[in-house]
Amino acid sequence: MTSAAAVRWSEGGGQLIAQATGVFSLTWLLIALPLCGAAVLLLGGRRTNSFGPALATLLVGSSFVLGFVLFVQMLGQSAEERAFDQSLFTWAPIGDFSVDVGFQLDPLSMAFVLLITFVGGLVHVYSLGYMADDPDKRRFFAYLNLFVASMLLLVLASSYVLVYVGWEGVGLASYLLIGFWNAKPEYATAANKAFVMNRVGDIGMSLAIMLMVTTFGTTAFSGVFAGASEAGSGVLLALGLLLLLAATGKSAQMPLQAWLGDAMAGPTPVSALIHAATMVTAGVYLIVRSNPIFDLSDGARLAVVLVGVLTLLFGAFVGTAKDDIKKALAASTMSQIGYMVLAAGLGPAGYAFAILHLMTHGFFKAGLFLGAGSVIHGMDGEVNMRRYGALRKVMPITFITFGAGYLAIIGIPPFAGFFSKDKIIEAALADSIWVGIAAILGAGITAFYMSRVMFMTFFGEKRWAKGTHPHESPGSMTIPMVLLAIGSVVLGAVLVIGGRFVGWLEPVVGSAEEHELAIPLFAITAIIVAVSLVGVAIAYAMYLRNPVPLEAPTGSVMTRAARQDFYQDAINESLFMRPGQYLTRFLVFFDNRVIDGFVNGSAALIGGGSARLRRWQTGFVRSYALFMLAGAVLVVGALVLVRL
């Protein structure tokens, strides 16, 4: 495709998509490097045990370096010429319909490439230390590489079918990694749960693709977005809702949120990379990428906002009640992604902020998870925060890096989360006062539960189990944590001040006019920070002033409900699983007894009938003779009668 034939789609401006040339023609290599690593490690078997993990890390590192080179090159282009298209080969040509394996590198995917390869690379390095003693670590690194490749494919794809390929690929990697220690039956169940719930979301993705082909005759971004404005509003609403369904599955949003908590069964680096920084944000990517569709459908955007608000509150409430440090962080992830989805639902006013929060969240949440992993590592696998306490002395680096992430997530200026969350809340307030209030409330609760995690883990008195000797983690683990902590501190300021990031994304997602607010911006900021501080204060009163009991108190109705994730599993079980099991059992019975019963019954009927008929064959010669005679007489009689 040449620039002359560029496709203009977004209403506010357009995006020129040029044929990738020069260094940009190496886009495919971004994916190929980690994919190659996965293949070598999986096919090479035990022979690659010695060098496999290092190779995997190296390949992801090379991907990052390449991504960075591309980024620098892209910065050199003017803002309107930063999108490149690379078509590798035709995948499925049928008549007029055709799917190409092709990549689209533009500012949006560039941002993701940097996030994925950077955090992915750090997590690889971290895993070198974290998984050092695991006999199966080669397989672990192979899966991690597979994940990075699939995730890059997801964000670089130039058509929805290819997005779907990456989408399923990350789902598979997630399944394999959640179930990495599947010698524990419940971990295997958690992996299954994640995969199946994701597949429910994939129904949305599949149907969206079918609807796109039926409507536009293509699933390429360029074609779909070019035709979006001519499609009927019903089609656009359906597309929006289907894509939202897909996003809820992958991003653990309501109503498909239940798998994320259990997904913490995976090794902690996995939780950091897949279930915090990258994969779970794929839903946000999908919505933002599909902005020409959502721009044209108010109904779809409203649904997105609703899902975002509900999930951000849901996750925040659940986070307050969890004692398992990873589950508390998982609930927090769910809630933070709720913010992003909410922002994405605000339309052009929010797309950029959704991605902005996604970036900062990728850093600070990955940092928090790696910190949690470091703590778990030091505490011999203990995950219950009630058995922690006073770890800041023995794990100073972990404490400081975790603290940086903590300050970032609760939105204390000038840490990264402050900038990104602040923007989302402002945009939400401009859209609707109620959505804004919900978002501010969520910020307060976030501050509360994150402070709770912080205080229970690093402050207070020691509540360690006997024989536990916490220690600081090795360099391979702390260095990634330090790097991510630096990101948690500065990234927000770097990206937001001067509107750098918003400007960077503008060619892709368009821009919104300045929103008018009844109250001045600094007042809103002050309110948000104040609400957050109130949350911290309550947590201080509850978990630092008073000793933390080893056994969780029964708590109020709300606490118990939140501890049970508001009975999400019970609801899913009673609504889907049990009826499904009964239906399955009934159908098996039906198949064996009714359908096969009919088949065997008709066989038995014929067999039985034959047995009766056989009785006529007595074996007595004379009775046969009698029959013959009778028959002959009948024939003769008939002949005579006819003659008459």
């Binding site: 524990k184 199946v196 082909v213 536009f216 390429a220 239906l583």
Partner: protein
């Protein structure tokens, strides 16, 4: 095209091989296996050569055509030839043959009554019948091959099976004969009409396809054909022979039976039913599509509830055949081509599952899922193969089945949006039956049952590797298959009078439709 009778060679070679193998005396079992493998490899080489010589966009419907009068009084001739669809399916059969023979190298050794020579001779004979079914362009030759094909399977199940093998073999035979009888009746009816319409009676496809037939007569004949193929396919509620047959047969037999032989039905729907009875096909399409969707959901749900691995795989096939038939009766090029790719993909994924299940059952001595547990702990590569087969079955992107499933769904959505929307639920159910089985068999701590289980042997590794390679090759780069299949599908649907499906909002600037 040169004059070398490639298809006859391909079809007769296995029969010759079968005679040679069957004639080998006791004590020469190894030689029998080696000859069998060699024959299949020669066939594979020949098929590859044919694939390269094949011209996808040729004007005539069939290539490698051979035609000799056989029973001239009834217009019957020995006529063979392949279009893109038949070529792809023959290639599938011939590729799977060496794989299953290698994978089931020792499957017949433990049999007390019958010699391995018989087993391999029967496999070869079955392969020959399969080649003829796909290659026949004379309906009578097709019918003969279609019926004769039952005998090797009957003996393979009845002589070399396990469990209730006699019951399963008889059930299979009766079901198939019943369908075959209806097919024969309809075939005679078709012959009578050809006498009226064309002056001389004929069984030649090129003359019968597109022949004007009174719509009501079409419906009756359609019913006869369709019933026979619905049994073979198998569609709910005519499917119950399959689980029994699969549970009793050896993995090699099951693979050829489910993975290839049953494709005859879906192949015949494309080759015979739609071109010869276009009006009736259009008339019956809503009904067929409904049955197909029921098969998809029903097969998957019943699969979830199975406790026997072989039966479970058989029920997944019922579900997958639903997808294939849905694609065929979508009457869109995407659906039709997709269904052919799905046939190939299903052959590969079923082969993968049956073969790995065979490895597992061989080691454990039981095919019940609860009798396993924690296989991944003791035999990681074997468990990895099992997971691969499962993922191929649930249509993981990057594998062949994804290409088929996606295109079938897209194609059927264009014509039957509701049916496709319901069929999509199948993707959730497929993940359930695959992952639950994998979880029960392979994950968790190693149980007493699987302690000391060997991991894959080099022979098993060699047997399984081609399946992995083919599955991924077709999944990543299916274009060659589409290129071969598309013209044949286009020709098939050109007999119909349905409106082609056009996008509602065609992207006009050309560049967008990439």
């Amino acid at each position: 095209m040169n004059d070398f009778p490639a298809l006859t060679t391909l079809g007769v070679l296995p029969f010759v091989g079968a005679l040679v193998v069957a004639a080998l005396p006791r004590g020469r079992e190894l030689l029998a296996k080696q000859i069998t493998l060699a024959v299949t490899l020669v066939m594979l080489a020949l098929t590859v050569a044919m694939a390269f010589a094949f011209e996808p966009n040729a004007a005539e419907p069939f290539q490698f055509v051979e035609k000799t009068p056989w029973i001239e009084q009834f217009g019957i001739s020995y006529a063979v030839g392949v279009d893109g669809i038949a070529l792809v399916l023959i290639a599938l059969a011939v590729s799977l043959a060496p794989v299953v023979i290698l994978a089931g190298w020792n499957d017949a050794d433990d049999n007390e009554q019958h010699r391995p020579q018989t087993y391999f001779a029967l496999l070869l004979a079955l392969l020959g019948c399969i080649v003829y079914v796909f290659a026949a362009t004379d309906l009578f030759l097709f019918y003969v091959a279609f019926e004769v094909m039952l005998l090797p399977v009957y003996f393979l199940i009845g002589m070399f099976g396990r469990g209730q093998r006699t019951y399963a073999a008889v059930k299979f035979l009766l079901y198939s004969l019943f369908g075959g009888l209806l097919l024969l009746a309809a075939l005679i009816g078709l012959y009578v009409i050809s006498v009226q319409e064309l002056g001389t009676g004929t069984f030649d496809w090129t003359l019968l396809a597109g022949m004007p037939i009174d719509p009501d007569t079409q419906k009756i004949l359609f019913a006869g054909f369709f019933f026979a193929f619905a049994i073979k396919a198998p569609m709910v509620p005519l499917h119950t022979w399959l689980p029994d047959a699969a549970a009793s047969a050896t993995p090699a037999t099951s693979t050829l039976l489910v993975g290839v032989l049953d494709k005859v039905a879906t192949f015949a729907m494309l080759r015979l039913v739609i071109p010869i009875f276009p009006d009736a096909s259009e008339w019956a399409a809503p009904f067929v599509v409904t049955l197909a969707v029921i098969s998809i959901i029903y097969g998957a749900l019943v699969a979830i509830g199975q406790t026997d691995m072989y039966r479970l795989i058989a029920y997944t096939s019922v579900s997958h055949f639903g997808f294939i038939i849905l694609g065929i009766f979508a009457f869109t090029e995407i659906g039709g081509s997709g269904s052919v790719v799905y046939m190939v993909a299903h052959g590969l994924s079923t082969a993968a599952l049956f073969i790995v299940a065979g490895f597992l059952v061989k080691r454990r001595g039981s095919s019940l899922i609860p009798s396993f547990g924690g296989v991944q702990r003791v035999a990681p590569i074997l468990a990895g193969f099992f997971l691969f087969g499962g993922l191929a079955s649930l249509a993981m992107p990057g594998m062949a089945s994804f290409v088929g499933e996606l295109t079938v769904l897209i194609g059927s959505y264009q014509r039957w949006p509701m049916a496709a929307a319901i069929a999509v639920i199948g993707i959730v159910l497929s993940s359930l039956y695959v992952l639950l089985m994998y979880q029960r068999v392979a994950t968790g701590p190693a149980t007493e049952n699987v302690k000391g289980m060997r991991d894959v042997s080099p022979r098993e590794l060699v047997a399984f590797a081609p399946i992995i390679a083919l599955t991924i090759a077709v999944g990543v780069f299916p274009k060659p298959v589409f290129d071969v299949v598309n013209p044949a599908i286009e020709r098939t649907y050109s007999f119909l009078h349905v409106e082609p499906v056009e996008p509602d909002v065609p992207v006009t600037d050309g560049e967008g439709t990439k």
